[in-house]
Symmetry: C2
Subunit: 355 residues, 2 copies
Amino acid sequence: MATTATNRRVILKEYVEGYPREEHMELVRGGEVPLRLTGGEPAGSVLVRNLYLSCDPYMRPKMSRPVRESYTAAFVPGEVLTGYGVARVVDSSDPRFKAGDLVWGITGWEDYSVVTPPASKLLAKISHGAGDGVPLSYYTGVLGMPGLTAYVGFHEICAPKEGEAVFVSAASGAVGQLVGQFARLAGCRVVGSAGSAEKVELLRSRFGFHDAFNYKEEPDLDAALRRRFPDGIDIYFENVGGAMLDAVLLNMRVHGRIAVCGLISQYNLADGEKDAVRNLSAVIAKRLRLQGFIEPDHKHLYPKYEAWVLPYIRDGTIAYVEDVAEGLENAPKALIGLFHGRNVGKQLVRVADGE
Amino acid sequence: MATTATNRRVILKEYVEGYPREEHMELVRGGEVPLRLTGGEPAGSVLVRNLYLSCDPYMRPKMSRPVRESYTAAFVPGEVLTGYGVARVVDSSDPRFKAGDLVWGITGWEDYSVVTPPASKLLAKISHGAGDGVPLSYYTGVLGMPGLTAYVGFHEICAPKEGEAVFVSAASGAVGQLVGQFARLAGCRVVGSAGSAEKVELLRSRFGFHDAFNYKEEPDLDAALRRRFPDGIDIYFENVGGAMLDAVLLNMRVHGRIAVCGLISQYNLADGEKDAVRNLSAVIAKRLRLQGFIEPDHKHLYPKYEAWVLPYIRDGTIAYVEDVAEGLENAPKALIGLFHGRNVGKQLVRVADGE
C-alpha cells in the first residue's frame, strides 16, 4: 500500500469582485502527501480522503476582500478553498474516528486534507451503512448543511401551521427543494420560484410544490405573487433577496414570517450596487418578523433532524435532486455555475468514489 | 345646564401626497350637538368631551389614498380625523362608563365625539385620581399608546439583557424618550439620535441616555454609529427607517434585535421614492431579527405596563416631556410639525381643560 499520494488543491488566486470566474481559482499540484499523520499536527487532527465537495452560495462572500460584516472568515489568496464535504478517514488523532470511517463536515477542496481543530471537532461520523439506499453524497445536501438549514429555517424559525401559505425562492436549489417538501408535509400550500422551465417542472413534478413559476418570465414580481397568493403569504423562505424580497413584502399577510437564509442575487454586487429594498413599511403594517440564521448556530438539532428525515428519504417521501460535477478539476466551474443558476438541484463535486 | 354645545371638527380635506400641509385639513363648525345620547346611536356608544388629542406619526399613512398594505383604514376626505385622546364622558350607553368619568382611547379630532363600537369598546377608564402628580395628558403619552408601544417594543420584542448596547432613533419623541429610560432601567447602555441640539441635550440631561447625537450633523451615519458603538449594537429601536436603518444594519452585533416601531422618514415619500435599504445581508451574517409590531396587538399587556410604570412616574424615576399645542384650531399645525421634527417631546393638543 502506498505511503504517499499526489495531492491536488483548488486555491483562490485573488479576491473576487463581481461574478467569480474560473481564473479566480486554480487547480494546483500540492505535491506528495504522506498517507498518515506525521505527529506534527495539532492533537485531534484527522487526515481524510475527500470524496464529495459541496458547492454552496455562502462561499461567494468568503471570496471577497474581507469586510466588516462577514460572519465567516474570508478565504485567503494562495490557500486552498474550504467547504462542506464527505470524506473517508485515512488516519486520525481524534479518538472519535478511525481509518476507514466516513465523515462529513468542513474540509478542503483537495484530494487529501488534514482537518485540524476546531474544524475537526465538527466532523460528524456517517453512521448508517452504505448500500441502504441513501447515497453518501446526500451528506453534502439533504443529510448535511443544506438539509439542516431547510429544517431549522422552516420548522424552527417560521413555526408553520397547517394550511398556511408558503413561498420559497430558488426553490429547486439545495435548500429550496427541501423547504417545499417540508412545507407540503406540514400541510401548507407551497409555491416556488426558479429560473428555468426545467426547474419549474421539477418543482411541480418531483417536489410536490402546489404551484411554481419562472421568475425570469415575470416582469412584475408583485403581480406574479399576487396571482398565486390572493390571500397573501404567511411564510417566505428567502434565498435570493433584492427585487424578489421587495415584491414579497407587498404580498405578506399579517404576522407573516420571513426566514432569511440566503441572498444569492446580491452576492456578486459591490456594496453600493446592492438592490434597493423599499417596501419595509410592510414590516410594521403587517407585523412581520424577518429572521436571519445560519446553520452552524443550530448544529445541536442535527440528530433530531436526521432521525426525522432519514425514514422519509428511505421510503421516497422526500426526493432530493443533485447536480454532480465529476472531478476536482471541475469544481471551480461548478461553484461559479451556482451564481448563474446553471445547476439543477444541489450542486456538488465528486472527487473520488467512496461507495 | 346647556343641553347642546357647538362642535368644531378637524376634517381631512383631501388625500395627502408628500408632506401634509395645513390646507389638507380644515377646522369646520360641526353645528350644535346634543349633550346626551339621543337613543339613535348603536348600543355601547359613549358621548365624550375631548380634552387632549394625541398627534402621532402613524396618522400620516392614514392620510394617503388607501393602498394595499395599510394596516389601519385610511381617513376619509370630508370626515373628521380620529386618533388617540383623553376625554370626559358626557353620556354613555356602555355600562362601564358614567357621566364624568375620564377615559382614553380612539376619539375624534373635535370638541365632542360619539364614540361607537368597536372603538368605544377600546376606551379605557382612567382610574387614578386627578391631582396625584400624574397629568391627565400623560394618557396620550407615557400612560397611553406611546408608552405601551415603548414597553412592548423594548421589553417584549427586544428581550434586553443587562449590559447590552441599545440604540434609539427619534429618541426624544413620544416613544423614544421612554425606550431610552427603560433601557437605562434595564441596565443597558443606551445611545439616542435626534434632530436638534436642544433635543440631544434633553436626551442626555433629562432622559439619562449615556450618549446622544444630532443625526443632521453626521454626514456619515455609519461612522457616527461606529464611534459610539465600537463593539456594535445589540438592540435597535427603529422609529425612522431609511438611511439610518441602513447604517444601523452595518453596526449590529451577532444575534441583534431590531424592533420596527416606526419609519417616520418614509411616511411622506411616494412608493417609488422610498429610501433604499441595501445592507440586508447583515441580517444573515449577524443572524438579526427584525420584528414589526403595533400597539393594538398588545393591549392585554396594558394593565401590567401601567402598574409597572406608574410608580416610576410618581417618584420621578421616569421623566416625560410633552409639547402641548393649545386649542383644536392648532391641531393640524401640531400634527404637521411632527414630520418636520418641530415638536420637542410628545406632541399633543389641549382641546379643553379637564383637571
